[in-house]
C-alpha cells in the first residue's frame, strides 16, 4: 500500500496537473479536427513530453489520447467526417442521428460510452498486466525473441484486407530499424558515411514525419470544402443518454469486451476495435436494418463508441508487460520511454510499482475528467470545427519542424522527418498500412538483439528456440497467427457451401 500512497503523492505534483489539463484540451482539439488522428496528436506531443519525467510524460499521452478518441465523434455527428479513424465505423449513424434531431443523445452516448470504455480498459489493464508480468518473469532472450516475432506477425495479420501490403510495411520498418551501429560487431550499417546516422534513424522525428507531416500532405492534396455544422440542442442530454445506455446495455458489454481484447493485440488499436464491434452489433441486433440508414441508429454508437476507448487502455497491457506496443499510440510512447531509459517489461512491476500505480490512477482520472471537458467540447463543437485548415495545417508543419529539431538540436532530424513524411504519405495513398511500419521500427532491434544474444550464448544451437516449453508455445501461436487468414478463408468457403447446399 506504500507504493499506492507514493503514487497518489506523485499525482499531486503541480507540474503533472498542468500537464494533464493542457494535454486534455490539446487532445480534444486535435481529435475534433477531421483528418488529424490521435496518433498525429501523440507524435506532436512527444517533443514536449520528452522533457518530462516518465509519469507526467505518460500521463500526458494517456489523457490526450482518451480525449482525442472521444472528440473524434464530434465531427462524425456534426459534419459527417470522422475526427479520428477510430470513429469512422459509426460516423454515418452519428450523422444521420444528428440530422434527425437526436445529435445531443448520440454525442452524450458517445461521451459516457467513452468514459465507461476507458475505465473498463483501465481495469482490464490493472488486473491482466500484473498477472501476465508474473508469467513474463520466466522469459529469457528466446522467449522475448518469440514474443516480438508474434507481435510483428499479429500486426500484419490484422492489417486488414491486404496482408501482403501489411508485410511489406512491416519489412520497411524493420529495414529502417537496422540503420546504424549493429548489435553483434558494432559495424555501421546503411549509414553511407554519415556520422550522425550511426545512432540509427532517430525514432521521434520518424514518427512525427510518418504521422504528422504525412497527414498534412494528405489534407493539402485533398482539401475539404467549407463545412456546414449542424446546431445541437443539449438540454436534457445526460438524462436521455442514461436511458439509452440502460436500454442497450448489452451493447455496452459487448463493446467493452471486444475493445479490451482487440486493444491488447499488438498493432490493433481503437479503429479496428470499433469496426469489429460495429460488425458484431450489427450481426446480433434485432434493429440492424436501421443501422446506417434513414435516421441512423444509436445502438452501434453505444457499442463501438465504447470499444475504441476500451482498446486505447488495454493497448497498455502488452506495452507494459512485454514491451510490445498494442497500437500506434503506445508504439510511439514505448519509443519515447526507451529513449528516456525506461525499459517496460515484467521487471518494471517489481522495481517501480509506484510508477505503475500512478499510471493506473492517471487512467481513472483522465476518464473522469473526460465527463466535464467532453461536455464542454460538445457545447463548443461548432466553434472547434470552424478553425480553418489553411491556418491550422501550416501551424502543424511548423510544430513538425521544431519538434523534430528539438530532440537532438540537429537538422538531420528535420530531414528524417521530411523523408518519412513523404514515405508515409506515399505508403498510405497506395494502401500500405502505417501501423506495421512503426511496430517494425520499435520491435526490429528487440528481435535482432534477442536472437543474436541467444545464438552467441549457445554457439548457434538453434534447437533452444523450439525445445524450451514457453518458446515452443509462443512459436506455435506465431504459426497459428500465420495460418489464420488461410483457415478463415477455408471456414468461410465451407459455410458458403453449407448455405448454398
Amino acid at each position: 500500500m506504500g507504493d499506492f500512497a507514493t503514487a497518489l503523492g506523485m499525482l499531486a505534483d503541480p507540474t503533472l496537473i498542468v500537464v494533464v489539463l493542457a494535454s486534455a484540451v490539446y487532445g480534444l482539439f486535435i481529435g475534433a479536427i477531421p483528418g488529424l488522428s490521435a496518433t498525429l496528436a501523440t507524435a506532436l506531443l512527444v517533443p514536449f513530453v520528452f522533457f518530462l519525467d516518465p509519469l507526467p510524460a505518460m500521463a500526458a499521452v494517456i489523457t490526450m489520447s482518451a480525449m482525442a478518441i472521444f472528440a473524434g465523434d464530434l465531427p462524425s455527428a456534426l459534419v459527417r467526417m470522422p475526427g479520428t479513424p477510430a470513429s469512422a465505423a459509426y460516423t454515418e449513424d452519428a450523422y444521420l442521428q444528428t440530422r434527425a434531431g437526436h445529435g445531443a443523445r448520440a454525442l452524450g452516448v458517445a461521451l459516457v460510452g467513452s468514459v465507461i470504455g476507458g475505465i473498463v480498459g483501465a481495469v482490464v489493464l490493472m488486473v491482466a498486466a500484473p498477472l501476465l508480468a508474473e508469467f513474463a518473469l520466466l522469459f529469457t532472450s528466446y522467449e522475448y525473441f518469440w514474443v516480438a516475432v508474434l507481435g510483428l506477425t499479429a500486426s500484419v495479420i490484422i492489417s486488414g484486407d491486404s496482408q501482403i501490403k501489411g508485410a511489406i510495411s512491416l519489412l520497411i520498418g524493420l529495414l529502417l530499424a537496422t540503420v546504424g551501429i549493429d548489435i553483434a560487431l558494432g559495424y555501421a550499417r546503411f549509414t553511407f558515411g554519415s556520422v550522425d546516422l550511426l545512432q540509427g534513424i532517430s525514432f521521434i522525428p520518424a514518427m512525427i514525419g510518418l504521422f504528422g507531416l504525412s497527414e498534412v500532405l494528405r489534407n493539402a492534396m485533398r482539401p475539404s470544402g467549407p463545412v456546414e455544422v449542424i446546431r445541437l440542442r443539449t438540454a436534457g442530454m445526460f438524462r436521455e443518454t442514461a436511458r439509452t445506455l440502460r436500454r442497450y446495455w448489452k451493447g455496452v458489454v459487448s463493446g467493452n469486451v471486444i475493445g479490451s481484447v482487440i486493444g491488447a493485440l499488438p498493432g490493433a488499436g481503437g479503429d479496428i476495435a470499433a469496426w469489429v464491434s460495429y460488425a458484431t452489433t450489427k450481426n446480433t441486433s434485432e434493429e440492424a436494418h436501421r443501422f446506417g440508414k434513414g435516421e441512423g441508429h444509436v445502438e452501434p454508437i453505444v457499442s463501438a463508441g465504447s470499444a475504441n476507448n476500451a482498446a486505447l487502455a488495454s493497448a497498455y497491457v502488452p506495452t507494459l508487460v512485454f514491451g510490445i506496443p498494442g497500437d500506434t499510440i503506445t508504439a510511439i510512447l514505448l519509443g519515447v520511454l526507451l529513449v528516456k531509459g525506461v525499459q517496460p517489461g515484467p521487471e518494471l512491476f517489481n522495481s517501480d510499482p509506484s510508477l505503475l500505480y500512478g499510471i493506473y490512477l492517471i487512467f481513472i482520472v483522465a476518464n473522469l475528467l473526460l465527463i466535464p471537458l467532453g461536455y464542454l467540447a460538445i457545447r463548443g463543437s461548432g466553434w472547434l470545427l470552424r478553425v480553418p485548415p489553411s491556418v491550422l495545417m501550416p501551424m502543424i508543419v511548423a510544430f513538425c519542424v521544431v519538434g523534430s529539431f528539438s530532440i537532438n538540436n540537429g537538422y538531420l532530424e528535420i530531414v528524417i522527418m521530411l523523408v518519412l513524411g513523404v514515405l508515409g504519405y506515399l505508403l498510405e495513398r497506395s494502401g500500405f498500412p502505417l501501423a506495421p511500419v512503426v511496430l517494425g521500427l520499435v520491435l526490429g532491434p528487440i528481435v535482432e538483439k534477442n536472437f543474436m544474444q541467444s545464438v552467441i550464448k549457445t554457439n548457434w544451437d538453434l534447437t533452444q528456440f523450439v525445445t524450451r516449453p514457453i518458446s515452443a508455445v509462443l512459436m506455435g501461436l506465431t504459426v497459428l497467427a500465420l495460418l489464420y487468414p488461410t483457415l478463415r478463408n477455408l471456414l468461410r468457403r465451407r459455410q458458403a457451401v453449407d448455405v448454398s447446399g
Binding site: L171, L175, P223, S390
Partner: protein, 156 residues
C-alpha cells in the same frame, strides 16, 4: 480494382522487390563474426529477401486481380492539390536552407505566412496566425524547454 490501382500495386511491389534485392546484395559486404557465422548481415539480409518475396507476391496478385472491380473508388488528385502539397514540403526544405543564416523567427514567420496565404487564408488572418505561432514556439521551446533554436542576425 480500377486500372490505376492495380498498376499502382505492380509499381509498389516492384519497388519493394528492387529495394530488397539491393539490400541483399549490399549486406554481402558486411563482416562476419569471428567464427565465420553471419553477424551484422543476417537480420537485414533476411528482411531484404522477404521484401523481394512479398514484393513479387504483390505484383502477381495485382496482375491476377486486374479485371476485378475496385472496392474503393480512387479519388482524383488535382493539380491544385499537388501544388499545395509541394508548398508544404517547400516550407520544410526552405527552412532547412535558410534557418541557420536568417534565424528561426524570421524564417519560420515568413514561411508560415506564405503557406497560409497560399492555402487560402486571408492575408490579415495569415499574418496574425504566423506571428502568433512563431511567438508561441519561441516562448515554449526556447524559453521553457531551453531548445537552442537557430539564431539569425536579429538574435531570434
Amino acid at each position: 480494382m480500377t486500372a490505376v490501382s492495380w498498376r499502382n500495386d505492380v509499381v509498389g511491389g516492384l519497388l519493394a522487390a528492387v529495394l530488397g534485392a539491393a539490400v541483399v546484395l549490399h549486406v554481402r559486404t558486411f563482416p562476419e563474426l569471428p567464427d565465420g557465422q553471419p553477424g551484422p548481415a543476417l537480420f537485414p539480409g533476411v528482411v531484404g529477401a522477404l521484401l523481394v518475396l512479398f514484393g513479387l507476391a504483390l505484383v502477381v496478385r495485382a496482375v491476377l486481380a486486374r479485371g476485378l472491380p475496385s472496392a474503393e473508388p480512387d479519388v482524383a488528385v488535382t493539380t491544385q492539390g499537388r501544388v499545395r502539397a509541394l508548398a508544404v514540403l517547400g516550407l520544410v526544405v526552405v527552412y532547412l536552407l535558410l534557418a541557420e543564416t536568417l534565424g528561426f523567427g524570421l524564417t519560420m514567420g515568413v514561411l508560415l505566412f506564405l503557406l497560409m496565404w497560399l492555402l487560402g487564408a486571408r492575408p490579415v488572418v495569415a499574418v496574425i496566425a504566423a506571428v502568433a505561432t512563431t511567438g508561441f514556439v519561441l516562448l515554449v521551446f526556447e524559453e521553457l524547454l531551453l531548445v537552442p533554436l537557430p539564431q539569425g542576425p536579429l538574435g531570434w
